[in-house]
Amino acid sequence: MALRIVKNPHLHFILFGVILALLPTVGRGMGMKTSTLQTLGFMLIYAIVALGLNLLLGYSGLISLGTAGFMGLGAYLAAYFQDDLKLGFWLAVLAALVIPILIGLVVGVISLRIRSIYLAIATLCISEILLKTFEQLEWFTRGTAGKQSRYPTIFGAQLDRNAVFIVIVIALVIVMMLTYNMVHGQMGRALHAMRSSEVAAQAMGVNILKYKLFAFSVATMYAGLGGALYLFFLRSSYPTTWSLFMSLTMIAVVVVGGLRSIYGTVLGAFVIYAVPELFLKKLPVIGGIAGLPYIFSGVLIILVIMFFPNGLKGLADIARNLVVRLRARTAAKEVAA
């Protein structure tokens, strides 16, 4: 029984969440700066969005360069429903989930016809259309002046920065658990089959249309959720945020963290987003270079693709194998002695 609890992955996610949720309180006691908490919050949002992209890129073998557009859509929808329509936190979140799903379904249908680089171009175009819309549709987004928002109120309680951080942690834990369930079981195997060979997947009864729609709608839903959380945490949204660079950063998170790995994705978000913000910018001389994060993630992507195709998760596997092998060797020596 005890072993079963130790091995239950869902409990691991919850434990992981509890540790993260304690950060604001514990951190303040240890003199953590507000800006550090801000960076960690954004990092967790990146992890949520990148988990959706990993479902596409890692499991289903589908590419999307449109992540930023869907995130932006989620952010503006959340702001519109919360601040303009005054419909409250829950309806704002619901809108930021449901409307991106509908767009995701459209992209899913497109992906039936086109593949690889062409799919990347098509999704990039959708994202750019959304970006232009954000700039022009002033009643909805306030255009380039930026949409201002405020911390949400949940069940009558006005949240502050720390409370929104905890909301982000809860969202991340839920997303990790749902993603885990999606990829371990019949649906995950169907996605694997689809990536490996659509022809073989169909022969095994996998409905390609259904699973492409599923993968894209989950990815856009996570992006929409990430966008809404981004808005609640930053309390503003500008069109420039939702550019191609954001989409590319998400791909970097997935590739560096590890395709088809849930914890790897969170680790990827840490390395790609938090490490430059928290550490690199404080280094002498090179810390002052503008665009240092771009250089950092670019170099990392090249290194990972060349030497560790499974990303940081692959590194962890290599380390684990070493330990297992060392243990086996020690055991063999003991037997010999």
Partner: protein, 285 residues
């Protein structure tokens, strides 16, 4: 409706024709397979064997002709999540023309195939690869699975046990948790067979299973094919180049050449057949 199939037949291909551009890949090909029969489809390179195969499994839609298949309607009720009527007595079978059905629905009738180039997923363990064969059998909905509700958990466990049995039947039990990537070719071929067994097929179509195997492995394969038929009580359609394997295991053989039907009979009859000899060896001077 069972008029299209004689009693004891599981599949009947009737007047199958298909052209690609101006080329007639199949021209009026007909044959039928009996239940629990090991049936061979042979022909020289480019004869249209694989095209027949793809027309049966609906990867291609033939220009003309029919593919009659006998199935147990109980299976479809399971897949459509509808309750079965209280019908007493012997199990009823129905006959359907597969032409025009969607590719991914074919497995539901009990017809499964393997691939010439072995289509397994290298990133998954052997047992997870086999579980893909049970994809259409899952009754838990997506929501039940995403929330991991009891029915989804129970089903996963039940099919996992079944998959382990299929792996053990193919002699791969000890490897069940290893990744498929990097396994020897012979293991992957067996893995693909184990995957077809998950669907409880009534007809398995093997696409050149001996390709890439050495003599010993081919002999082993012949024994395996017989064992599968005896244990799972299904018909097997073998599309094969390796004459020794075909002559060794098939009860009846259909030969085609340049998209046309040549002959149908026992291995001995086929070996004696003038047309078949000409097709393989060229016309006698």
């Amino acid at each position: 409706m069972t008029g299209a199939l004689k009693d004891g037949e599981i599949l009947s291909v009737e007047h199958l024709s298909i052209s690609f551009g101006g080329l007639k890949a199949l021209d009026d090909v007909s044959f039928s397979i009996r239940e629990k029969e090991i049936f061979g489809l042979i022909g020289p390179n480019g004869a249209g064997k694989t095209t027949v195969f793809n027309c049966v499994t609906q990867f291609y839609t033939p220009d003309a002709g029919a593919v009659w298949f006998r199935y147990d309607p109980e299976r479809l009720r399971h897949h459509r999540r509808t309750a079965s009527p209280d019908s007493a007595g012997a199990p009823q079978t129905e006959v359907i023309d597969l032409v025009g059905k969607k590719t991914h629905t074919i497995i539901r009738y009990g017809l499964v195939r393997t691939f010439q180039n072995v289509e397994v997923i290298p990133e998954l363990s052997l047992i997870d690869n086999v579980l893909i064969g049970a994809h259409v059998d899952f009754r838990a909905t997506m929501v039940e699975q995403i929330l991991r509700l009891p029915r989804a958990r129970e089903e996963e466990k039940a099919y996992r046990d079944k998959a382990l049995k299929a792996l053990e039947f193919m002699g791969l039990g000890p490897l069940s948790d290893q990744l498929a990537g990097g396994q020897p070719y012979g293991v992957l071929k067996k893995l693909e067979m184990a995957r077809t067994l998950m669907a409880e097929p009534t007809l398995i179509i093997l696409d050149e299973p001996a390709a890439g195997l050495n003599d010993n492995e081919t002999e082993d394969l012949a024994a395996t094919i017989r064992r599968v038929r005896d244990e799972y009580q299904c018909a097997i359609l073998l599309v094969e180049h390796d004459m020794r394997l075909v002559m060794n295991v098939c009860e009846r053989i259909c030969a085609i050449s340049f998209g046309k039907f040549l002959a149908l009979g026992t291995p001995a009859q086929i070996q004696q057949d003038k047309l078949v000899q000409e097709a393989y060896l060229g016309e006698q001077e």
